[in-house]
Structures are given as structure tokens and as C-alpha cells.
């Protein structure tokens, strides 16, 4: 875990990509993209249907270790509007276990257009202590924590290129990496993402074993 000072609060990021606000007992996760695998079947690509199970188990495995009562999902929890219907009984069971155990806040993501699931309310935005929880970052001077972009960074070390998911902390913005098992990534040098990253932003590089903190300048200077 590494601590991030954000709006005078101490938030903590774990290497799996979940952000904790422990004084409020909140865990924040983004872009689970549940049932992404099964979504390809309709186009004749039979991607294995095990990603939701992996994603939920990994999520529960981490947050069960902390004192958390509320989980904020920053959108694109479901890969498409029919994702919930495709869940196998086992996945459905895991999902219900999760929503029973925690108070889960669902932010609406762009993949969830027109989604309707009984008993689930989707929020455009959710606010705690002047911090806005959104799916996609906005160019507005408010304290915001969002997801959507699936940021990854690549770092050249000793002529090797290492690519990993990352969390971006830029002034009053935090952008979380995607958490879902089958999610890809967008490089932080992509112009779309770059517009949200100030020069002195911090990039938390998440690997299998640990978290490494770099300044945006360190990474940029490699190009």
C-alpha cells in the first residue's frame, strides 16, 4: 500500500488497483467490465466465460482484509447492458454475496447505457466530503476521482520497456486503473488522457508485487 495525500485526506492505493479511504471505511474500484468475455460470443468469438468470477474473487479477496463498509464502483461495472443476464449461477452468487456484504454505490459508465437491473441504482456522480466520484474525468476545477480511461504507463529501464496499469494523481484529480480481468489499457501519453495530467502529476505504477511511484516528468523524459 502507498499513501496518497488528496485534498487533505490520506488515501491508500494497493497494488491490485483498489483505492481505500479507510477513515470513512470506503473502498473505490473502477471498470470491472463484468462479463466482457461472454460479450464476444455474439460475434462468434468464444472467449472463455471466466473473467467475472476472477474479477469478483480478486475484489473480495482484497477488500475483505480491510475495515470497509462501503464500496464505490466508478462505472463500467458491467461490460454491456445485458451483462447481468449472462452471469452464470456461480458468478451471480458471488455478486450477490458482494452486494449484501457491502453498501455498493454504482456510478453509471459509458458501457452501461440504458442498463436496467432490478435493485441496482446507478448514479451519474456521488459526492463525499466535497470529493466527486465520477466515471469519466471532467475539465472542471473540482476534486474528483474517476476511472474510464484504463490508464497504463510504459517505462524504459535498461533498454527494456515495462508496461503496467497505473493510477494517476494530478492536482485535484485521481484516475484509477481498470480492475476487470479482461480489460486492456490506454497509455498515459495518449493525447486524450494527457490533457488530464499536469507536469508534476504522480504516476503510481502497479506491478504484480509492488507499487512504484514516479513523477510524470520521469516518464515523459524517456520519450
Amino acid at each position: 500500500m502507498k499513501t496518497i495525500k488528496f485534498c487533505n485526506h490520506g488515501l491508500q492505493i494497493c497494488k491490485e488497483g483498489i483505492l481505500f479511504w479507510l477513515e470513512k471505511e470506503i473502498a473505490i474500484v473502477s471498470d470491472l467490465h463484468l462479463e466482457k468475455g461472454s460479450s464476444y460470443a455474439s460475434s462468434g468469438q468464444y472467449i472463455p466465460p471466466y473473467d467475472s468470477e476472477e474479477t469478483l474473487l480478486k475484489l473480495l479477496d482484497v477488500i475483505n482484509n480491510y475495515k470497509v463498509s462501503k464500496v464505490i464502483l466508478l462505472g463500467d461495472t458491467f461490460h454491456d447492458k445485458n451483462a447481468f443476464l449472462r452471469m452464470t449461477p456461480k458468478v451471480r452468487f458471488l455478486f450477490e454475496d458482494f452486494t449484501k456484504k457491502y453498501e455498493v454505490i454504482f456510478i453509471l459508465g459509458n458501457h452501461e447505457n440504458k442498463i436496467k437491473i432490478e435493485g441496482i441504482k446507478f448514479y451519474q456522480e456521488y459526492i463525499v466530503d466535497n470529493i466527486h466520484f465520477l466515471h469519466e474525468a471532467i475539465q472542471k476545477n473540482i476534486n474528483q476521482i474517476s476511472g474510464h480511461f484504463h490508464p497504463v504507463a510504459s517505462i524504459k529501464v535498461s533498454s527494456k520497456k515495462i508496461i503496467s496499469k497505473c493510477l494517476i494523481h494530478s492536482n485535484n484529480h485521481i484516475i484509477l486503473p481498470s480492475f476487470g480481468e479482461f480489460t486492456g489499457g490506454l497509455n498515459i501519453n495518449d493525447p486524450v488522457l494527457k490533457s488530464f495530467i499536469s507536469e508534476d502529476a504522480n504516476i503510481y505504477f502497479l506491478t504484480k508485487k509492488s507499487i512504484y511511484k514516479f513523477s510524470n516528468k520521469d516518464i515523459e523524459s524517456q520519450y
Binding site: S42, Y46, I47, Y50, E54, T88, K160, F182, G184, F214
Partner: protein, 807 residues
Amino acid sequence: MSENLKLQPIQNWLKKNNWFFYDHQLETLNQSINGHDILLIAPTGGGKTLAGFLPSLHDLINNKFPDNKLHTLYISPLKALTIDVHRNLTNPIKDQKLDIRVETRTGDTSAYKKTRQKEVPPHMLMTTPESLALLLADTQAKEYFKFLRYLIIDEIHSLVNSKRGDLLSLNLSRLNNISPNCKRIGLSATIKNKKSTLNFLSQKKKSKIINIREKSSPKIEILETENRVPWSGHMAGYAITDIYKKIKLSSMTILFVNTRAQAELVFNKLWQENENNLKIAIHHGSLQKEIRRKVENLMSLGELDCVVATSSLDLGIDWGKVDLVVQIGSPKGIARFLQRIGRSNHRFDEPSEALLVPSNRFEYLECISTIASIKANLLDEVKDKEGSLDVLAQHILGVACSNPFQIDDFFLEIKKAWPFRNLKKQTFLDVLEFVRNGGYSLKHYEQYAKIGINKNNFYAIKNKNIRNRYRLNVGTIVESYMLKVKLGNRTLGQVEEWFIEGLNEGDTFLFSGRVLEYQSITNNNIIVKSTNSTHPKIPSYAGGRLPLTSELSFQVRKLISKKEYWKQFPNQISDWLKLQNKFSGLPSVEELLVETFPRHIKNKKRYFLICYTFEGRNANQTLGFLISKKMQRMGYKPISFVATDYALAIWSMIEVEDINIILNEDIMLDDLYEWLEETPLLKKNFRDAAIISGLIERTIPGRKKTGKQVMFSSDLIFNVLKKHEPNHILLQVARNDSYRGLIDLDRLGDFLKRIKNNIIHKRLDRISPLAVPLVLEINRQTIDKSEVDEYFLEELENELLTEVGLN
């Protein structure tokens, strides 16, 4: 010539050219008339192709055949070969005004011509295994091939025991059902596995091998030079001037190299020497096909002085006017070299001539061994392989696209394909379900199944769209994602995506024989401009490097082991070995020499461990992975390793004291399975299998994934399958391919047995003469990536912290 053969037109044409029939050509014809399927094994230049076509020509000349029906199908592994054979066959047909229409059909054939060929088939069609698969997936396939009388497979030795061969064999079995009376003729270079190649061709009782031996053994020499043979490298720059002299003296030279990067560099260097303005051209697989065709054309007209080529010119094409074959770098295998030599000269009864140019010192040893092996008539052995299930999956979809099938009949047909003779019914059913709906027994997947089952238990594709997509995904060759290289409006050819990733704007590289400056990527095109730069960054390509065969590596070990053999070497080579002997040591044929010494890389002290196995690159690579895995566990922090055909060099942060603990047979075999599961190789093979089997598509109409996206998602699928279905069909395929291909397990096993109690460990304070070529070798292999990344990241973070004064 026998009385009962009527071949007047062909004979007239031969006579006109002062040619005559060879005995084996007539024997092939006679045996075929007698109803035999024939495997003709003959050295190149023996008139093999004409022998293959004689029975078919004889039939067309003498017997009635319905017009506008396909009579003869010719299959070759190379597009270029279909074009060449087409040209050679058209000559007598035109000359004698025979009413025989001959056409080619490959991936390069225009859509218009393809449609016309379907409506009005030629008498003879020349095609590749992939185009055949596509023809057979057509709904009209049965009608199209119903009248087929002759099937000729050229260069059949290069197709058996490969995935391409698996695909072809399945389609051969299909053809057998459509046109059971079609006679087959296989044409092959000299090979060791004769019987299994015949079985691949035909399982009829009436089948025969006709084996023609070379009448005189080839003349092969190693280039004599005043210059120093370099320690390492693959470019043979030292020899260019001498080679140029030889080119000047011959009328046409083919200069073979092993990789495309070599081709570019050698070509460039030759032009720098080219004061006489000789016509020197280049030919390799990355070049635009128009450029390649142009070179081939000029060659057949005899208008070139020299062509620098990779394996793209290896097979079959007879260039009558070539009188010198030069091989730069070791040919790495005996059969392969014989095939290349065969390009020269050639009348069947004259010996071929070839010149070997080793590009470094180890290769010098190899070249001597190659010549010795050819003199002793030794051949490399290829192990027979079982049919791959990913190819079967592709075939199942292809058949479903063509015609509805029933399970039992179809299974029998598949079993008749030689590589699939041992296929179990249950495995077949599993693959079928995998193709139909992924095999997950989930309602949602079944809803979108590609193949449906009708009331009468016939299996058929659900809609036309599936056929269209099958067409885009056919084939067993999975190449790296390629980008077009554009100079102005001209497309020069293609390079792999990863190559360009390493380039920055303004970097220069050699391509298509020019030095180009990289500018940008736009719409998947690499935009370049010409430059006067003389120090290009050379492209190096993934393909083309073949490992040393075990026969050759044994010969090399033998050469090194005894001083008396060194007399045949030039001084610089024998001095090198003498120096090594004094400084460290040289192993006997049975021994393994291991050296350890410290060395600085970028100001950091590293510990090198070198094993001189001489077991070929693949076995060494596997050994490298295994040893580094072991070193990782024991805390030596290995950083990287280099595997060549001769040796393995590993460097680590901490010194290894006891070699015997690390090179222990039992412990290493325990690690193997676990290790294989983590290697990038398995992931790569999985990705290929996922694409071949159709799990992931190459292209989707109107949308093209980048190579990277395909890579990414196949890795994710791989991880999830490993956990949830460790015995998934595609994981089985990937494991088998890894064991068989790049891992060379058997060879490694034999090696470990051999070196037990036979390890000589030399502890040195610096690098030995024998180790210099290895340390210079740039081809670094990554060890378990995530592990090493962690070390580097630790180092980098510490460095950065020190820099800002926090550490």
C-alpha cells in the same frame, strides 16, 4: 521410350531444345498409368517437375476430357513456385499448340480472375495449400473437383510434419472422397523419412517410391580470405570484397543468407563494392510482391548478375543460368544446404558448385562439419508429428462452410488424413464443440453457435457471414503484425510492428536495399524518406533463424575436441582454439565445459556463467530458462541470458559458486513443467493456436485490430484458461508445439544424461577467448519478465531517489 506411350508433342518440344526424357520421368509415367500413386524423390535439377506433370499431360493429349472441368491440381508450398512452374509448363504447351489451359491461383490472384476460375476452371490449376482449403470450403467444391484426375504436390518434404502439412492432409482426405479415382504424385527433395512422406501423400495399396540419387556429389568450398574472420556477428562483412570477385567471375550468382536483415546488409555492402556496375538484386519475404516478381522475372531471363536471397528462393524454382551458389553464414542443416546448392547449374548429371562463407568463428567450424557430413551422405532426421488440433478446428469450420456433414462420416474422413490417423473420437467431438460454440455448454454461447445441427443430425454453418469470416482466417502461418513501408506513394514492403516501436523519428534503417529515415506512422503505414546516411540502424526480423541440427552439432564437438583436426583450419581459427586451450580449456566430445567469470556491464559488476553445450539454439534456450529459473529461486538474481547454437551465457547479480547444484538432471526435469507454464514461448504458441483455431480472428471485415491488441487479449485468455481449464484443447496444442518446436526436449534430455559427472568447471578472472563471441551476441533473451522487471524497478527507483538526495 516404351511403345505404348504417346507423347509426341512433348517429345517434339524436347527434341527442338536438344533435350531428352530421363529414365525416372518415364518410369513415373509408366507407374502412374499402371495405377500407382507415386512419391518421386530426386535431387533438384533432375526434371522432377516435368516428371510430375507427364502422366497428366499424357492423359490430356491422348484421352477425352470434358472441357471446362478441372483435370489436374498442382500444389506447391510457395506462390513463386506456382508462377515459375506455370511458366515452364506453358512453354511446351504453346510451342506445340496443345489445347490445354493452365492457370495459377494464390493469395495474390485478383478477385476477378478467381471468380472466373470458379465458373470456368482451367485444365490445370496451380495453387497453394491455403488456396486449396479456400476452394474446398466453397459450396460448389464437390462439383468443382469431381472430375479431378491428377494431383501433384511439389516440394512435399517441406510440408509434411508442419501445421501447413496438417491442413493439406485434411484437405487431401476430403479430395479423396470427392474424386476417389484421382492419381497422386508427390515430388520431394532427398529426405530421410521416406515412408511417412509416402503415407502422407497416399494410403492406397498401389503406391510407390521412386528414388533417384544424385549422380555426382556437389563441389563445396569454404571461401579463402586474407581478412580476419570475426569473433561474432552474422553479417560476414569481412568477406564482401572476396565474394564480389567471385560474382564478377560467374555469369549468375545466387547469394543465400539466413535472415532478412542479413540480406539487406549484404546487398548494401555489395553495392558499395560495385565498381563494375554489376546487376545485383535482392529478394526476401518482406518485400512487396511486385518487387519480388520483377526480380524473379529478370532472373529467369538471365538479366541479373547476382541475387541476394533468403529462404524465399530456397524451394524448387529452376534458374537455369545460375552457375554459382554462395551461402553466407552456416546453412544450419544438411538437407537445407543441399536444397540451396541445387539452385545452381544445372544439368542433373553435372555436379553442383557452392561456396560457403562463415560469418564468424564458430560458423567456420560448422561449415567444415557441413562439408564432411555431405561427403558422408548424412541427412538430418525430422521427427514425425501428430496432427495439430488447432488446424483440425480450422478445417472443421471450413468443411461446415462447404457442405453439411454427419459426425461419423466426417470423423472417418479425418482419420484418413495421415497426421490424424491416431485421433480419438472424444478428442474430435471436443474440438467440434469448441468450434461450434466454444465448448462451454452455456446457453448464451450456444445461442450464437457458428455451426448448428439440423433435424437429421447434419452439421452446417448458421449463416453466410460465417463463411466470409472463415475465408479471412484460413491458413496456419501466424505472422507478426506487419506495417507497410511507404516512400512517397511507393510501398516498399512490410516490417513487423515491434521493429518500428524501437525507432524514434529521424532514426535510419536499411530496407529494400536503401537507407531510409523513419518519419512517422500514419494509418498503419510507416512513412519514410530517402537519406544519405551511411550508418543505418539495421532491421532485424523475427523469422529466418534456424537451429543447428543435432547431426551437425555432434560434428562440431568432434572437430573441437582433438588438436589433430585443427590442421585443416586456417591459422586464425586454430590459434583461437589454442589460445582457449591455454587460457581455459576445451571439452572432449562427451564433456561439458562451464566457465564462470566477473564482468562489468554499464559500470555494474555482473557474474557470467557459460555452458558450451553445442546442442543447438533451441535446446540452449530451454536450458537457459531452466537454469535461470533455478538461479532465481536460489537468490542469484539472474538478469538475462544469451543462447546460441553452441553455448549458453547467463549473467547474474550474485556469483554462482557450485555449478553441480545448478546443472543437475533430476531437479531440472522437475522444474520443466512448471517452467513451461510460465514461459513467453508457451504464450506465443497459445496465441498462434488461438488464431489458427479461430478463437481469435485475424481480421474482421471493416475493422483491423493492431497486432498488439491480439497479443494482449490472447494473454488474458491464456491466464484464465490455465486456471479454469488446464487441459483446454488450445493449451494442449500450445504445450505440444512448445515441447516439439523451440524447446527441443529430447535433445536436452540426452544432453543432461551425457554430462552427468562430465562437467569441467573453469573459474576465470576474466572472459575467455571462446566466450567472446557469446558476450558480443546481441540477441538477449528475457528471463521470467515480471521477476526481472522488479529488480530493475528497484534499481531505478533507488537511483532516482539518490539523484534527488533522498537516499
